[in-house]
């Protein structure tokens, strides 16, 4: 028997396991290694701080998310020994592989910023990128009496780059509905030079921040947090005081990536941007948040990548040349508050543009526009995730980004960004 071993059973790893188990011949065994008992629907975390009480709908027993035939090894990974084609597990056992898929994601690392994880953590400092963080923040917002709420991105890249903006829009709506918006000052503190990374979307989203009375503190490279004095301090010694800090800490890849000497400075794995094979290893593919690619760290990206990795694993087994199938395609709902959302669709080369989605000129959803239907799309997506995406079913959204139904503005409007943070491959 040959082994296809998948590290991590999050969005990317689960899709890969479920897709490959139905496609590989009987001589192959599909094993997925993940120590966690439950699978978390991460987009659901955004709504919890604002009073949603549906956390149980965002969790599923991992055993129910994996198709029959997939062998789940419930252990943590300690090390990849690429030369020996072996994965060493925390319990000391070794798992040999013929092909390896790294889908071990990214994790928040508040310990990377002095002062962030110490005195104020879960007192006046909260995250919403973990389930317990989002629940603790729900309690904190429920009892918040007013003052300055700072939303801070410590450094890029982060998972779901629009989530901090969505959080800010929802915070504005939350305090408005509670009749206390006038007592809350919202400050958006970002290392970017504007609201987002791509010019048109940045103008649109930056405009929304302004409309909602949010102050933006751009180009703020967070150096440390003074938890006692409640100040964010940048490397160039600017200070932003806060009463309540919602932090998006530094993101890094899994610790075993660094231990295996396979990561970059943030423990993300250097990956070919189009074939998704590890740059250094012929028998290893990488997808989802674990790559070092300039594509968004988002579930939609993992989904589009999973189709390319499926194809390339099969080609690799058949000794065929790999498909250069990934174009950086990302598709994200952006919740903007008061039951509206925007939808953005982009790739390595094409920034988010207005238009319709998924059908050209028909929609029903609108790109780059706030609508109620987009909001319903966002809410409906949880069902799609559990019932179509994770099981590896085909959903009617093309893997490569399409220009059909998109409209380029006739003449580019003047941009407020200086072009410092645009991804390109």
């Amino acid at each position: 028997m040959k082994n296809l071993v998948i590290l991590g059973a999050g969005t990317a790893g689960t899709m890969m396991a479920n897709r490959m188990v139905t496609r590989l011949s009987s001589g192959w065994c599909v094993k997925v290694i993940d120590p966690e008992q439950e699978h978390l629907y991460q987009p659901g975390l955004l709504f919890l701080p604002f009073g949603a009480r549906d956390e149980e709908l965002n969790l599923r027993a991992r055993s129910k998310t994996l198709k029959p035939g997939v062998e789940w090894v419930r252990e943590a990974v300690q090390l990849i020994e690429a030369d020996a084609k072996t994965v060493v597990l925390d319990n000391g056992t070794k798992q040999p592989y013929d092909l390896l898929v790294i889908a071990s994601g990214s994790q928040i690392r508040p310990d990377e910023t002095p002062g962030l994880a110490d005195g104020g953590w879960r007192g006046s400092i909260f995250d919403f990128y973990t389930l317990d963080g989002a629940l603790a923040l729900r309690d904190a917002l429920d009892t918040f009496e007013g003052g300055r709420l700072a939303i801070n991105i410590v450094e890029m890249p982060i998972k779901c780059p629009v989530a901090p903006l969505e959080f800010t829009f929802l915070a504005d709506a939350f305090f408005t509905k509670r009749g206390m918006r006038d007592r809350v000052e919202l400050v958006y503190v970002t290392p970017l030079d504007s609201a987002f990374t791509k010019p048109m979307a940045s103008r649109l989203l930056g405009g929304l921040l302004e409309e909602k009375g949010v102050r933006v503190e751009p180009e703020f490279a967070t150096g440390e947090v003074d938890a006692d004095g409640k100040n964010l301090i940048s490397y160039d010694e600017r200070k932003v005081p806060y009463d309540l800090l919602v932090t998006i800490p530094t993101h890094m890849g899994a610790p075993f990536i660094e231990a295996s000497g396979m990561g970059n400075e943030l423990s993300f794995v250097p990956t070919d941007p189009h074939t998704l094979r590890a740059k250094e290893h012929e028998d290893i593919f990488v997808l989802g948040d674990a790559t070092d690619l300039p594509s968004s760290k988002a579930g939609s990206v993992a989904h589009f990548q999973s189709e390319v990795v499926t194809e390339n694993l099969l080609r690799s087994i058949g000794n065929e040349s790999l498909e250069e199938g990934f174009d950086g395609h990302a598709n994200c709902f952006v919740e903007s508050g008061f039951d509206k959302a925007l939808l953005i669709d982009f790739n390595y080369d094409v920034e988010p543009l207005p238009g319709t989605f998924p059908l050209p000129w028909v929609g029903p959803m609108s790109l780059m526009k706030e609508t109620y239907l987009n909001h319903l799309g966002k809410l409906a997506f949880r069902w799609v995730y559990w019932n179509a995406l994770l099981p590896g079913r085909t959903i009617p959204v093309p893997n490569r980004m399409s220009m059909r139904g998109k409209v380029r503005p006739a003449s580019p409007a003047p941009t407020s960004t200086k072009g410092g943070h645009h991804a390109s491959a």
């Binding site: 450094e155 890029m156 890249p157 780059p161 990374t197 791509k198 180009e219 490279a221 150096g223 490397y235 160039d236 970059n264 400075e265 943030l266 300039p294 594509s295 968004s296 410092g420 943070h421 645009h422 991804a423 390109s424």
Partner: protein
Amino acid sequence: MPVLEAKGTEVELNDEGFMVDSSQWTPELAEALAEKEGIGALTERHWKVITFCREDAAQNGQPPGLRRISKLSGVPTKELYQLFPKGPGKLAAKVSGLPKPKACI
């Protein structure tokens, strides 16, 4: 296109002030670029960063980002902000004659 001159050599810069051809870089040009960017005289600590950036870019085909510089050059981020004020990632690349680092989204 703007040009920069140092010790009789003229090189082309792009609109954002980065050298167009990285292979034309010389230590004298680094001093001229530093002067132009308001960094002033280059110290031994500046050179430690510049040397690292040049070597790392030659090896990887792209200029290192801020975190990579601080992790691998031995110069902490805080000091990088003192040496290359305002945007050490971009400025270190500029003075090292490298293209603008591609930041992630």
